[in-house]
Amino acid sequence: MNFGFGAWLFAISVGASALGGALGMASGIFIVPILIMFGGVGIHVAVAASLVSVIACSCASSAAFLRNGLTNTRVAIVLETATTLGALTGVLLAGVFPVSLLFLLFAVVLLLSAQQMMARRREPVAALDEAGAKSWATALRLHSSYPDRVLGREVPYLVRRVPLGLALMYGAGLISALLGIGSGVLKIPAMDTALRLPIKVSSATSNFMIGVTAAASAAAYFARGDIDPTIAGPVALGSVVGAVLGARLLMVVSGEKLRMLFVVVLVALAAQMLLSAFGVHLGGHAS
């Protein structure tokens, strides 16, 4: 094992995960492009390694959300049927998808993330009117409540449009397995627009689900022998350390500055991925 390269992988993972964690994003969206462009790692190896770090970050941060009672575990397990099925599809497609198309898809996801980062998420209209008695959410008893520290009481909420949520989650699982990311880009609209979950519940539940989604694809990649421990090991370790640091960072740095830095980095990575998609390489390692 090359110690220098391992240390470099560890360091960039700490940075990516600390920044990502501070704004509630998985680190994969930064790690995959960096591994490819600056580490000279093949896209499939980078995706597989990143998925391990996505699982690590999800597991590391899920515990706190669960303890605070923000995670809706019933909604999570229902949606996980769709995300894992999507992940399975993604693993099968990864073999036949042309690499240039993967780069293009990644660039699109980076740009969409930048756009989402600019547009602030608004609390979905939480009208507590009657959900249809025949709705899936009612039948599956998904409606719940969460403790709000500011209000000092339990805030009840209803869950909407589960079939639409399932469809979007299938897409999220597919993108996650193909690109090695947590796929918040699709999960956030699914949670906010389709299911109409309160933001805190949606963040906690989405984070909880990301681990199982990534585990479904990572298990397949692992069984296939696509996970290179010399790359995935330092990346996973760095991501956990970064996730812990990220939570602290959030308290020191202004959220607005961090947000702008994020947008710039995302757009820069998107431009680089677009160039790669069309066969232009600026980085030193790319071949």
Binding site: R67, T71, D226, P229
Partner: protein, 111 residues
């Protein structure tokens, strides 16, 4: 109408405990595997190289969310919620199917 039916504090506490502990355990295994070569060690127990220990840590990380779904399955069934037991079983089945497909196509992807 009462909407507070989805909260399951006992399950949530158990899952938090398992995920937290599991994350630390897997992280430590990977750290150990990465650190061993630095001290020129030849490995511990069954694992003969640092790389094998790192692989074990990675495998543990992948299994952690699967273990979490298994725990949910057990809790749902114990509460007599067979519909959610079936949903959890379906999620597990999809993950196992993925791993099985992975084994069959081993050695497939280049770089």
């Amino acid at each position: 109408m009462t909407v507070n039916v989805a909260r399951q504090p006992a399950l949530e506490r158990l899952l938090a405990y398992v995920l937290h502990g599991g994350t630390w355990l897997a992280t430590c295994i990977i750290a150990l595997g990465l650190a061993l070569p630095l001290f020129g060690s030849r490995g511990v127990g069954l694992a003969t190289t640092g790389e094998e220990i790192v692989t074990a840590g990675i495998a543990f990380f992948i299994l952690l969310p699967v273990l979490r779904v298994m725990l949910m399955l057990v809790m749902f069934v114990r509460e007599g919620d067979y519909r959610f037991g079936a949903i959890a079983t379906l999620v597990l089945a999809i993950i196992v199917l993925g791993a099985a497909l992975g084994v069959r196509t081993a050695g497939g992807l280049p770089g």
